[in-house]
Amino acid sequence: MKRVYCNEKYCVNCHLCEIYCLAAHSPAPDLIKAFSPSDGIRPVARIQVEESRPRSMAVSCRHCLHPLCADSCISGALTKDPNTGIVLSDPEKCVACWSCLSVCSIGAIRKGFVAGRPVSVKCDLCQGREIPACVEACPNQALTYEDRGEN
């Protein structure tokens, strides 16, 4: 399946991937409104940039074959779609116990908010878009969206 890969050598620590991921998942019409939503709770990007100068790297969900997060989810909110292979979190079922956060081996799940409720938030590979927003936003082609033959 196609996944987002980050080539750490060319990540320039600009965080545009985070900004455009957030915008893509926000109901707000544009970036400015997306960053200052009416309910005052700043939305969380589903990709995050690690910084350890001079190096930096964007980390997002690997959509594992046997995702530990789905295995440890007590409410069945986190499931791996059998057809697309994408691991999705259902905000209505999530009770924010953060078990998923405590087992995701690369720390790709974050504490977010949907309709004011705390829920787990993770990369959904921007369904409905040709290329994920983060890959499209990366100015240095450090993020690529490709199928490397891993299941």
Partner: protein
């Protein structure tokens, strides 16, 4: 020193209603202009540091930033311009030479913009590039005076082999920019792009990085006055060897790469101790006359078993025609003329702006002189310094060049915004820097695509234009000054360029 009198060169205007405080500009500015107390906190800017490289403007996701040049820093005065005044202030505060990078920024006339190209019409048709192959392939290196053939049955065979010729699929090459002044990623992008385009790249005087030797078949390696990185393997692996006698941006002076930029990798490639300043003296301290140069040319030919063309690069100075004639007679196969508007990583601003002549007149003069002496075909002529677009390439070839180098244009393709601060090594675009946090900003894979796109675009334009001229092979354009007309040039300029005024027919 107390407070500097030099006003900020740029003002940072931040539209606060648009700023989402995301900190992109803070992290991207190589000159630490923007700052943020804590994540998503208020962003403030120290305008003195700004060099106007537009990195923040380009990266700001909400277009909240504008960098404006401070044009009202002095009372308007025709003689005492802002530039002159600020230079005096700086030197009064530092007592040192004002450094500059990139090319001459004085508004000398740009002859390229005063020359118009021709088109064929009615009496002979233009050639349709969509139907006919437009041939821009060029060979660099000296040409044989004549071809001797032997008839064997119906076909013919070459009796005497030709001197080595380097095939360029397009008459555009990447200019000499040393590893040390530019980052390794940029070197790799240039090398790989040249290989993909079937043209050459020049390593510059900084040696040839071990990792890039796989592109050696398209490389021109430089032997400069510092002899940096020159050893047996360096000469053997290269396709062309170029003796650097001068550089258009700084004729008559040497080069200086400061010790701070001398990282381990740069030092290893230059074969000098880490941390030392890399000084390439002017002149070569073993070439004080044309015969010494001939000796070096012969030595290089001998060492490489006469398998590689030897090029000599000189700056365009007043007697460049005589120099070129001497170089040709000294056995060089290729002469590179670097005009005064050529770029540099670091040079005293006064040298960069005031010494040398523009490439247009230099090429015209050299081509004319070599033709008069009947030795034009013993060498290939390469124009360099300030080539900005495909029209410049065409006009340089019409004036007599076999091919051109692009340096600054290539860097602009990779993101350079000509802020002119390469000498600081803090280039926010990751080009003229060895700082790993910055140099990763040029992804060679992306860089190659951009460079290949640029050269392909220019080559397509060249094919379209020569088609319009009714020519389908670049050989017919070389030295074909009849296809140029001068616009707004005076009598003397027309004569030097060997070009008729617009309005005068063939």
């Amino acid at each position: 020193m107390p407070r500097s009198l030099v006003p900020p060169a740029f003002f940072v205007e931040r539209v606060t209603t648009r700023c989402i405080k995301c900190g992109v500009c803070v992290r991207q500015c190589g000159f630490s202009v923007h700052a943020q107390a804590e994540p998503y906190g208020e962003v403030v800017s120290t305008e003195e540091n700004c060099v106007g490289c537009q990195r923040c403007v380009v990266f700001c996701p909400t277009r909240a930033l504008r960098i404006m040049e401070n044009v009202h820093s002095v009372r308007q005065h025709p003689n005492w311009t802002a530039g002159v005044i600020h230079d005096i202030q700086k030197q009064a505060e530092t007592g040192g030479i004002i450094l500059g990078s990139m090319g001459c920024d004085k508004d000398y006339p740009i002859y390229f913009d005063r020359l118009a190209l021709n088109a064929s019409q009615v009496t002979n048709p233009a050639i349709d590039p969509l139907r006919e192959p437009m041939e821009v392939r060029t060979y660099l290196g000296s040409k044989a005076p004549r071809v001797e053939v032997k008839r064997s049955g119906v076909t013919f065979r070459l009796q005497k082999p030709m001197p080595i010729g380097i095939k360029l699929e397009t008459p555009i090459m990447f200019a000499a920019m040393s590893f040390g002044s530019i980052s390794k990623n940029v070197c790799e992008a240039l090398a790989k792009a040249a290989t993909e385009l079937g043209t050459l790249f020049n390593t510059g005087e900084g040696g040839y990085h071990a990792d890039l030797r796989k592109y050696a078949a398209n490389s021109i390696v430089q032997v400069a006055s510092g002899r940096f990185g020159v050893d047996k393997e360096y000469l053997e692996v290269a396709r062309v060897i170029e003796i650097k006698m001068g550089q258009g941006a700084k004729p008559g002076i040497g080069g200086h790469l400061p010790g701070e930029k001398m990282t381990w990798e740069v030092a290893r490639t230059r074969m000098i101790p880490k941390g030392t300043d890399a000084i390439s003296p002017a002149p070569h301290h073993d070439i004080y006359s044309i015969e010494d140069l001939k000796q070096l040319i012969d030595t290089l030919k001998e060492v490489t078993d006469y398998k590689k063309p030897i090029s000599v690069k000189v700056a365009a100075v007043h007697n460049v025609a005589a120099i070129a004639s001497g170089i040709a007679r000294a056995g060089a196969d290729i002469i590179t003329i670097d005009g005064m508007k050529g770029g540099t990583g670091a040079a005293p601003k006064v040298v960069r702006n005031e010494i040398g002549i523009p490439i247009e007149v230099a090429i015209a003069a050299v081509d004319q002189r070599l033709r008069e002496e009947g030795i034009r075909d013993e060498v290939s002529l390469v124009a360099s310094g300030g080539i900005r677009c495909s029209a410049d390439v065409l006009k340089a070839i019409c004036l007599g060049a076999d091919a051109v180098y692009i340096g600054t244009a290539a860097l602009v393709a990779l993101g350079c915004h000509l802020c002119g601060k390469c000498y600081t090594g803090k280039c926010s675009w990751g080009i003229a820097t060895q700082d790993e946090y910055l140099s990763r900003r040029v992804n060679p894979e992306l860089g190659v695509k951009r460079l290949v796109n640029l050269v392909n675009a220019w080559t397509l334009e060249i094919k379209e234009v020569i088609g319009a001229m009714g020519i389908n092979a670049i050989e017919s354009l070389r030295g074909n000054r009849l296809h140029l007309r001068g616009i707004g040039l005076n009598e003397v300029e027309l004569k030097v360029l060997g070009v008729k005024p617009a309005g005068e027919s063939m």
